[in-house]
């Protein structure tokens, strides 16, 4: 039947166009590898707030910091971006005794006045995860881990 054949051809055209566009638009895996991997060397996640570029030749890269004062993170939540496989590191200061909790990763650490804590762990879970002060339930940082 004629109308059925037209329909089939149109459907075929849709599928071809869809697949074609997908292939053209999708960034190739080679490119992705170039931009994210730094073979063998530890790469510390950079903070967008402090705009610190983690450079592998630096012996000790700056670690992003967030300071918890008067019940909130001073200067807003810390954003930490990383790629899967990187090491995430950030420092937390607090004017009260509290428990830091990294959601998803389920890491808990005590922090208190004069006792800043540096958290360091491999970014092995992809997604967006919140870090909060468990007692008051106040978010202090956000981790964004891309594949």
């Amino acid at each position: 039947m004629n109308s059925n054949r037209t329909r089939l051809l149109a459907l075929l055209a849709v599928v071809v166009v869809a697949a074609g566009l997908f292939l053209v638009l999708k960034p190739s895996d080679d490119k992705k590898d170039d931009s994210t991997s730094s073979a063998g060397t530890e790469k510390v996640a950079s903070s967008t707030e402090q705009t610190v570029e983690a450079k592998t030749e630096k012996p000790k890269p700056d670690i992003p910091e967030v300071s918890f004062e008067n019940g909130e993170p001073a200067g807003g939540e810390l954003k930490v971006e990383a790629s899967k496989g990187d090491t995430i590191a950030f420092k937390v200061r607090s004017d009260v005794s509290e428990e830091i909790h990294v959601h998803g990763y389920d890491i808990s650490r005590e922090v208190g006045p004069g006792k800043p804590v540096t958290l360091r762990f491999p970014a092995d879970l992809v997604g967006i995860y919140e870090v909060e002060m468990e007692g008051g339930g106040i978010p202090i940082a956000e981790l964004e881990i891309t594949p």
Binding site: V14, L25, K26, D106, Y129, E130, G137, E142, E144, P147
Partner: protein, 461 residues
Amino acid sequence: MIPFAHALASRGDLPIPGWLFGWAASIVLVVSFFALATAWRKPKFENREWREILPRAWRVIGSRAVEILLGLISLGLLGFVVYAGFEGTEAADRNFALTFVYVTVWLGFPVLSAFLGDLFRPVNPWRQSGRAVGFAIGKLTGKTLPHFRYPEELGRWPAAAGLVAFVWLEIIYGTAGTSVSLSPEVVANATILYSAYTWLMMALFGVEKWSQRGEMFSVYFHMFSTLAAFEVREGKLGRRKALSGTTSWANTPGSLALVVTAIGVTTFDGAQEGALANAINWQVDRLADLGAGVTTAVRGADTLFLALVLLGVAAIYLTGIWGMRTVDLKFEFSDLRQKFTHTLIPIALAYLVAHYFSLFFFQEQAQFTFLLSDPLGTGSTNLFGTANYGIDYNAIGPEAIWYIQLGSLLAGHLVALTLAHDRAISLWSDIRVATRSQYWMLAMMVCFTSLGLFLLSFANE
């Protein structure tokens, strides 16, 4: 803050990358024009034909004994939600009550119902207990209880109001200000309050009547079940053409309110931490300037924006209907408004899947491991030996989540267009008028699908 924040989310989805957004948006257009070019000329879904299937198996599955058993189990679970809410841990993610109500039931039933039919009806704890009480009173007094006549002009409005209240509790009351999640105790109290209200209304208007019009869970889940190919009629299981159940669904007043609310609350949940975050924060500051406390200011601003989103969703739809009338004046505005309402059901389902798939996927791991073995979250029980399990956040990759999100939006778009075209050719005998009227619906559907894509692609600040 996490985009698509949820009372339970300890993980947020990565926004879909720009190239994927571009691809999906172009496919929406290509698919839409394909739909127009190959449109059929005779309505396919207006036929409500239904044929009985599996009569023998149904005699067992649909028997009174099974129904009583299901009713008892669901009533038991309702009671357990209250118990866990009061006696269990305050930590929302480790308490059975929240995940069970807001994830397993609330997100599970729409998807299951859309494929398998109205599964909630036989397990609805309020309906089944109400029927049991009615039956017992009938036996004791020898007559059926009299009821007030339900005001039919109210239609599904009470259910739409209930839907707003339920979601408001979850994403506005629960996450406002300093508390990160809804407390299990609030869930328990709300469950008691809602049960009392539901039983009272059932006593006033009749169990079945209230289940079809006012009991929010029944009405909401039933809406999705109209997409399915299976339906129980007069106690018999049967098959109908998939989607054909939607075509008569909106004949009841308040149906548009319900489906617009369903789309609107998901949109708001997706937008509040992304697209609307700055606007909401600005509003919070204005309310704080007026002397409101932090929690009140956040709840006030959220409520205001939820109302705006609901109005916005309604406005998109009504604009499409208005546009259709510029093509042909044969039908009244109110008439057309009702006749195309059902085309929004697949959009509502698509939004739901796109926004909550990952939450459901990860949280169900909790539901069937530690929340099953240690439902109170107090560490006192280990019923199935799975109390110490965790959620594996690497169980599914971000790419797979993106494709499921986009796939659901595209499928919803296509089904909505299908239903709209089918309705148009049943209304206008002149195929050219029908097609021209559908340019407006097409524009409207593209609006909804693009909005859905936009929400998914919004890079969080």
